[in-house]
């Protein structure tokens, strides 16, 4: 073997060695970038999932009838017991269910009229069916006691203990001429509008209208 050919071989190896090293570092760099992208994608999908799938129950309570309020509070207390975050939004006729028994604020005639006509609190709520001039709710309450079903009053207390959030539609209060002091006391109760409801409910898994 001649010296020239050995020199040529070395040059060949050096050239290729450098090329291989460059390729290796390129592959390494690509791997690093792909790993980075994977990590950021994982983080993004986690954020999206958390944003779109919060373990949350939002209830719009519209009806002012006893049977629907029973359903609302069974769901609320049950979900809170399951570890879910629960927000209730009382609107329209349901706001009357939150009135204190005898509270009647000083207010204009039409608002006072509504005050007389609307049920004075949860104890005076009618049934949505078979109300029978007020006999229906009496029978249901009797049966509930007999069968060990918690009353709405008891479930309101339980909801407060379990951290169920209670929001009242300010527009309904205004419309029906109701004042804040007419409502029963509930820890952290707030008055809200549609934006607060939508912001709360939108990322949740479960929203019901009752």
């Amino acid at each position: 073997m001649s010296v020239a050919s050995i020199g040529g071989g070395l040059a060949f190896d050096e050239r290729h060695g450098a090329r291989i090293a460059a390729l290796e570092s390129e592959v390494f760099e690509l791997q690093r970038r792909s790993l980075e992208q994977e990590t950021s994608l994982e983080a993004l999908s986690g954020t999206l999932q958390a944003g779109g799938q919060a373990d949350k129950l939002s209830l719009i309570v519209f009806s002012g009838s006893l049977d629907r309020l029973i359903a609302a509070f069974v769901l609320a207390t049950g979900a809170a017991a399951m570890g879910m975050q629960v927000s209730m939004f009382f609107t329209f006729w349901a706001t009357a269910a939150l009135r204190k028994d005898a509270a009647q604020a000083d207010k204009p005639l039409l608002a006072r009229l509504f005050g007389w006509m609307l049920p004075k609190g949860v104890k005076k709520l009618p049934l949505s069916q078979m109300n029978l001039g007020g006999g229906g709710p009496l029978m249901i309450r009797h049966l509930m006691k007999q069968k060990g079903v918690a009353s709405v009053e008891e479930m309101i207390t339980l909801s407060a203990e379990l951290g169920v959030e209670l929001n009242v539609c300010a527009m309904s209060m205004d419309l029906l001429g109701m004042k804040a002091e007419e409502l029963l006391d509930y820890p952290g109760r707030s008055f809200c509008g549609v934006a607060k409801f939508l912001e709360t409910a939108a990322p949740g898994k479960l929203t019901l209208f009752l």
């Binding site: 069974v74 207390t77 049950g78 809170a80 017991a81 399951m82 060990g148 079903v149 918690a150 379990l162």
Partner: protein, 72 residues
Amino acid sequence: MELVDARGKSCPLPIVLIAKALRSAAAGDQITVQSDDRAFPEDIRAWCRKTNHELASLETRDGFYEAVVKKP
């Protein structure tokens, strides 16, 4: 072991009462709950799955169910 007697109490009280009892319990604590609610076997299973508690046992006694739930 703490006993939650939810007999004679209807849905959702059995799971509400056990949730309240387990809140103040320490990790590893076990609580016995009794219920004669027809929905209880399904509800207590679902409750344990959802809240990551261990259902150590679920048995039928004389006219009621008895479950032992362990806090993780």
